[in-house]
Symmetry: C2
Subunit: 437 residues, 2 copies
């Protein structure tokens, strides 16, 4: 079924509007190296101020919710029809780049800019949201989940978490940081959404790709099929016995390094096996270290601490891999006389993107003559929380070089233009969840 | 050939003399946990003072050489016959135990004590030496070999080393530390032995075993066949690429942890293979760590630093293992797209103990009805430097629980008694290098 795309004759002007906004955002939040927008910090607030101002020039109605998220609404043709939410976060990891998060907010504004320029009233209200604190894990310590802003909005942020998470800058609790920033943690603590979920049609998030797939395969834009869930061990360790590295016979040693190394190789081999079976899976053991206070060239090491971050779209595999880790830690540890303890292993379910919206994005891309690749998101996103809340959710990825979470991230504005144009097309469909074709 | 042992009817008194000396040494150099005798530091000097005083009560003639080693000489029957040297070091690792080193010095004094009590003049002069700074690696930084005292005595300590080695306590050079302690680094720098090597008959060192073999096999005393040499990589690293732990496909990663783990498993498998072939070998990779400043649960790690300490009595295997490490680092690194660089790999040759003296020790043990086990020393000792200088060298190990280099080391005075008695018997033989049997 071929369709014509909506007419947005001055789209390039809207892209220039976006490009200018990116530039001003970079200047307002630049650090020595990259960007400084701490969750619930000054740089993040500057970004919110700048975006709010831009939204107001587009006659959008601003509100701020209890978590401090910024909502900018542009009225649609049917005020009572369920509305679209779109957007992303405005904070960034330490020394991060200008696009991770911000691209999704600015894309929403560019769409509204283009509709106004074309004199088009969209079928339903569009609310562009700038979330707070998606990168909370980089700025707050303690055992908590991240995505404070979107989870706060959706009633998913618990009081315990707000009291456990502590600012790495000054040690104050997340609860206090939210309050000090002028928002209402006590209301968030009630566990109720800040918006009427029933009045939401869907959530669409544009984000730069944080992996290399669009670059390596030559696609400017991606359609996300799902956000990988995780099986995570944050405090795993292999405990052996410190000993003289020359005087103790090899067979009498309880060498934690060789034990942990064998376990790592065993985990990697399992991941490769699962991948060969066609299952979606990636895995890293990012922290892996002997005790810097006690290790030495001339000692058999008595301890290795490590982490495991295994991700998959396949929830069954996440559970299977948890059991695999526990079983093989025991097996290898027993055989070697060391104790391999993976500690508590947490599973976070994968977030499937709405199938009707994925199909609609593919049709929109075709009508725009835009080559889009379907791919999984390995990183977590605010979108995952909307999916978990039962809201039909879609994600568009924009090609980006050098990964993200570093100051080298590089998104070409031409690729952004194509991703944002695809977003506009989706938001202009009368009823993409129930398209007839 | 059965022999009767020498008559030392009051040996138990000499053991009590030694036991008392151990007790006073412990009191004089006790720290919060264990013993504090830093190389060229106050605790080491206290030990030297105490031993010198004890030697003087035995009418031994004291001298101190340019490196600060203490020589206590007891005259033998033939003043012109080549003399015996015996002894060990008087420093200790941080929070070490009371016996590592000191047992060998006190054993020499106990022998002289017993000879005097029995009215025996030994065939040749016996000089008991208390070495300085055998544990120099624990107290001095920089790229240097250890055993400063015995190597200084033998003319093996180079000026460059004395200028590169720096005190971990205050950063001053070894050269300055030796000078400040009242000794003569400028003389050591000439590279000439402090004693007339030609006048030395042999060197015999008693030391506690630092491994568990005598304990596990039930022998109070060991006869050392050799001191393992080493193949060492002090600055090896596996370099990959930091990346998002979720967003990058597994095949596109350059994961330094999995690369280093595969290499570690490969090294351990080779060591096990060599051991099955009957070759003497042990190996540890004691430091093995991701970068604590940069690693994270959610990152593929871009770097692992590690060390390799492989030891063997078999010099051929030391060279073969060096090539193995280099070849397999390259092989595994190339296949995985990471760079495994073992850095500079240094080989220190093994030190063989004199075969005639080993045989003589076995005969002496038999005559004393003492069960002694032949074993390798995995740890380095001052004795290795005497062997390297071409001096016939012997080592006696005394059973010791809990290893060494920690405050838990535990030598039973009864085992010490047997080891020291064996030493006495060796030193009383008229010409053990050329025994007729």
């Amino acid at each position: 079924l071929n369709r014509s795309p909506s007419a947005l004759p001055n789209w390039n002007e809207s892209v220039r509007f976006a490009d200018d906004l990116f530039r001003r955002l970079r200047c307002a939040t630049a650090s020595d190296r990259g960007i400084l927008r701490p969750s619930y910090g000054t740089g993040e607030q500057r970004a919110h101020d700048l975006v709010r101002e831009a939204g107001e020039t587009l006659k959008m109605t601003p509100t701020v919710d209890a978590a401090g998220n910024l909502h900018l609404t542009s009225a649609g043709a049917s005020p009572n029809a369920p509305r679209w939410l779109t957007g992303s976060h405005l904070d960034a990891v330490p020394d991060g780049g200008n696009y991770d998060g911000a691209a999704g907010v600015i894309a929403g504004l560019a769409v509204v800019h283009a509709l106004r320029a074309a004199g088009i009233t969209p079928p339903r209200d569009i609310t562009v949201i700038g979330f707070r604190a998606e990168e909370g894990s980089s700025w707050f310590d303690g055992r908590h989940k991240s995505h404070f802003g979107s989870r706060g909005l959706l009633g998913q942020l618990r009081v315990e978490e707000m009291n456990v998470a502590r600012s790495l800058a000054d040690g104050s609790t997340l609860y206090d940081c939210i309050q000090r920033s002028g928002f209402r943690p006590e209301q968030l603590g009630l566990g109720r959404p800040c918006i009427d979920i029933a009045s939401v049609y869907g959530f669409a998030e544009l984000h730069i790709e944080q992996g290399p797939l669009l670059v390596s395969t030559g696609f400017p834009v991606g359609i996300v099929e799902g956000i990988r869930g995780t099986t995570r061990a944050r405090n795993a360790r292999c405990t052996g016995q410190y000993a003289h590295s020359g005087a103790v016979p090899q067979d009498d040693r309880k060498d934690a390094v060789f034990g942990a190394a064998e376990f790592a190789v065993c985990v990697e081999e399992a991941v490769e096996r699962w991948a060969r079976e066609g299952r979606d899976v990636v895995c890293a053991m990012g922290r892996f270290h002997t005790d810097v206070q006690r290790h030495s060239l001339t000692k058999v090491s008595g301890e290795v601490q490590f982490t495991i971050d295994l991700r998959s779209l396949d929830e069954g595999l996440l559970h299977k891999s948890k059991q695999f880790l526990i079983d093989n830690a025991l097996r290898i540890g027993s055989r070697r006389g060391v104790n391999i303890d993976v500690g508590s292993v947490d599973i976070a379910a994968p977030a499937r993107m709405s199938r009707p919206l994925q199909a609609e994005l593919a049709r929109c891309a075709a009508s725009l003559n835009l080559s889009a690749r379907v791919l999984a998101s390995g990183a977590g996103h605010d979108a995952a929380n909307f999916s978990a809340a039962g809201i039909p959710t879609a994600m568009i990825f924009v090609r980006n070089e050098h990964g993200s979470h570093n100051h080298l991230e590089a998104m070409d504005i031409k690729d952004f233009s194509q991703g944002a144009r695809l977003l506009a097309e989706l938001l202009l469909q009368p009823n993409p969840l129930h398209s007839v074709h």
